[in-house]
């Protein structure tokens, strides 16, 4: 994280008279965010925690009461919570590698000096990223239609006799959803491309003089130099995939079909707080989700020092 770190003169009071006046202006200017942060982030976070110890429920007007750990007891005994968690992790195992690696592969292709018209390709590969999410879901819903979708028509054309039913088959629904996710590679690809352009060419020249081929250059220069970008993409993708639920919500109207296979954790959470208006149980689910996401993120940060290479920390 690049901190402004203006060089401070040592042993001098940091905020003398004029300094304080400027400092006050600083607070004035960031005030909109400070207020917003308090109102829409900090206080709601604490309130979410507080909600989880109450029986707050918008659907029925029961007297508000402190219920201790009752919601957590319910959570532990709620089979759907654990099923949904498994569903989310299963999907993450499939979707995460795609979200991290696919944009890198496309970026490598677009960065190739042999490619004609690379900026046109960049725009077109990015394009689906700005397609509204609902539109993308309906476009892909048609594409993955078992009988009229082009994917199955293509599979039949190359001789696959019983192509999968994709979103209608519990064992094919995750690959189907992962395919829909492929349209989201745009931002990752742009960031990887910028990372690739930032790698000094003399590294490659030195490697070539040392007799390194294309594969060795990729393995020993490109990938290590890109690890900060890979890491960033990975962390954002983890946070995103743990909250995944809007696509199945739109596709199957939040029913979890086929066969409960798309009752993702966040979908279950959403149903609890929005459909059933059960705020207290929703809040309990939300804190578990937050704790799991935070734990995974912290583990990732813990491993980062072993494999993420920051070139001298300087930029």
């Amino acid at each position: 994280m690049a901190n402004p770190s203006v060089a401070r003169p040592p042993r001098q009071p940091r905020f003398s008279g004029l300094g304080w006046r400027r400092a006050r202006w600083g607070y004035v200017f960031i005030a909109p965010w400070l207020i917003g942060f308090a109102a829409f982030t900090a206080i709601p976070m604490i309130a979410t925690l507080a909600f989880s110890f109450t029986n707050i429920n918008l659907a029925q007007a029961q007297p508000l009461a402190f219920v201790g750990l009752k919601n957590y007891e319910k959570l532990i005994n709620d089979q759907q919570v654990w099923d949904s968690l498994v569903i989310t992790l299963k999907f993450a195992a499939l979707a995460l590698p795609i979200a991290v690696i696919l944009p890198l592969l496309v970026a490598l292709l677009l960065h190739s000096r042999h490619l004609y018209g690379s900026s046109a390709f960049r725009v077109l590969f990015f394009l689906p990223y700005v397609v509204p999410f609902v539109a993308a879901v309906f476009i892909w819903g048609g594409m993955l239609n078992p009988s009229t979708g082009w994917i199955n028509l293509a599979l039949q054309a190359v001789g696959v006799e019983n192509p999968p039913a994709w979103l209608e088959d519990p064992s094919w629904v995750y690959p189907g959803l992962a395919l829909i996710g492929v349209w989201g590679i745009g931002a990752g690809m742009i960031v990887y491309l910028a990372g690739l352009k930032g790698i000094p060419t003399d590294l490659y020249e030195a490697a070539r003089i040392d007799g390194a081929g294309a594969w060795a250059s990729l393995r020993h220069i490109t990938i290590p130099m890109l690890t900060p970008v890979i890491f960033f993409t990975m962390v954002l993708s983890v946070v995103e995939v743990m909250q995944y639920f809007l696509v199945p919500l739109v596709l199957q109207d939040g029913t979890g079909e086929p066969g409960g296979s798309t009752m993702f954790y966040n979908l279950y959470l959403y149903k609890n707080f929005f459909t059933f208006q059960n705020m207290s149980y929703g809040a309990t689910l939300a804190w578990l989700l937050f704790a799991i996401t935070l734990a995974i993120t912290l583990v990732l940060f813990g491993t980062a020092r072993r494999w993420v290479y920051y070139a001298g920390e300087a930029r």
């Binding site: 994280m1 690049a2 901190n3 402004p4 203006v6 940091r14 400027r22 400092a23 600083g26 200017f29 960031i30 909109p32 965010w33 400070l34 207020i35 917003g36 829409f40 709601p44 309130a47 979410t48 909600f51 707050i56 292709l109 677009l110 960065h111 190739s112 000096r113 042999h114 018209g117 390709f121 960049r122 590969f125 689906p128 700005v130 509204p132 609902v134 539109a135 309906f138 476009i139 048609g142 009229t148 082009w150 028509l153 492929v182 742009i190 960031v191 910028a194 930032g198 790698i199 060419t201 490659y204 970008v229 960033f232 909250q243 739109v250 705020m279 939300a286 804190w287 989700l289 993120t297």
Partner: protein, 367 residues
């Protein structure tokens, strides 16, 4: 378009120039390989965008065609032949001698059917042995643009469009004003706790929305804001991490000498922001504006929570979902509606794609 694409100073440009240098020049004798790699890229791109092409084709297909198995991938109508005051469908008929003739179906029967040759309608009808149902009709390219007109009315598109544009414009104004102020505060003033607050700001990017949404929704519900646009508009006026970060990074590249000169001339901090920084920062202002317009246009979760059950205040994205719930048996309508939803953000992106992608680079790489 051209005016937009020449950012005069700052990282948007500087990065661009550095980028040119790192791509090694193409060498002689590489053209064969270039052709191959470009071909591979074209094929991958074609597969990548093919869902859009299918949507485009379906949006102009008639329901008759969609419900017919083995109809062509492109929009088409069966070719008809007018005979004796009747429109007869023309079929591809395999003849006993192995050839195929295009004949108009005059009398469809189970075991044998009679056909008329459109080339010689006055000749005796041709009797063909076999089930006419196994025959493939002859199709001709015929786009049905009336799907769009139908959806326009059915979905009440003008109303959805107005709602979406209104929300997008107001929340973009809020975002621009608040993020400019906050970014200016972080970029140009030193104050105790600045580093910590900035880290906190960035950390909110990684915060799952689930952990804040429930109390927020509850409060909005209690104060009667659910079912109005206020929850979609008001928070925009309190800045967001992405856009503040983007603007702050840009402000930091603008030299402080001019700020200081303005201060010596007696300009206060507000004056300096408006007359020194903002005129130099318009590329990033455009980037944030487009980002937010597209974000707001595409937002689904916010309108889903706060406009549920009130079709008259919903956005295009929500309207499309509601529409799908009613007309899911008419894929032509659904895909036409889908294209009507995506066309504006896609055009906005294409017109400003330089700013758009540079903005993503800054938020993505610098962190």
């Amino acid at each position: 378009m051209t005016a937009l694409s020449i950012p005069r100073r700052g990282i948007l440009r500087r990065r661009g120039r550095a980028a040119e240098g790192s791509r090694p020049p193409r060498q002689r004798g590489d053209s064969g390989r270039s052709f191959l790699i470009t071909l591979i890229a074209v094929l991958i791109l074609a597969a990548f965008l093919s869902p859009m092409l299918r949507s485009l084709a379906y949006s102009v297909k008639s329901l008759d065609q969609i419900t017919q198995a083995h109809s062509p991938l492109y929009p088409a109508d069966p070719v008809m032949f007018s005979f004796g005051g009747e429109d007869l469908p023309i079929m591809n008929v395999p003849m006993p001698d192995g050839s195929t003739r295009q004949l108009a179906l005059l009398e469809p029967l189970r075991r044998q059917s009679t056909f008329v040759d459109p080339a010689a309608p006055d000749a005796a009808p041709i009797v063909w042995e076999g089930s006419w149902r196994t025959l493939e009709p002859v199709w001709q390219f015929a786009p049905h643009f009336e799907n769009f007109a139908a959806v326009w009315d059915l979905i009440d598109y003008p109303r959805l469009l107005f709602n979406t544009v209104f929300i997008a414009v107001v929340s973009t104004i809020g975002t621009l004003v608040s993020c400019t102020l906050v970014a200016y505060g972080f970029a140009r003033f030193r104050f105790p706790g600045r580093g910590l607050l900035f880290t906190l700001l960035i950390a909110t990017i990684f915060l799952p929305a689930a952990v804040t949404i429930i109390p927020t929704y509850t409060v909005f519900q209690r104060i009667g804001w659910v079912g109005t646009w206020l929850p979609l508009l008001v928070p925009a006026f309190f800045a967001n991490a992405y856009d503040v970060f983007l603007m702050r990074q840009y402000f930091m590249t603008i030299p402080t000498e001019m700020d200081e000169a303005a201060a010596i001339d007696g300009a206060g901090p507000f004056r300096t922001l408006i007359s020194v920084l903002i005129p130099q920062a318009w590329p990033v202002i455009v980037a944030v504006a487009v980002f937010h317009l597209v974000y707001s246009w595409n937002d689904f979760f916010g309108p889903l929570l706060y406009t549920a059950g009130r079709p008259e205040i919903q956005t295009v994205a929500l309207g499309l979902q509601r529409f799908n719930g009613i007309y899911y048996r008419e894929p032509g309508y659904i895909q036409a509606g889908t294209l009507m939803t995506l066309v504006i953000p896609v055009i906005a992106f294409l017109l400003t794609q330089r700013f758009f992608t540079r903005g993503i680079v800054i938020t993505g790489v610098d962190k």
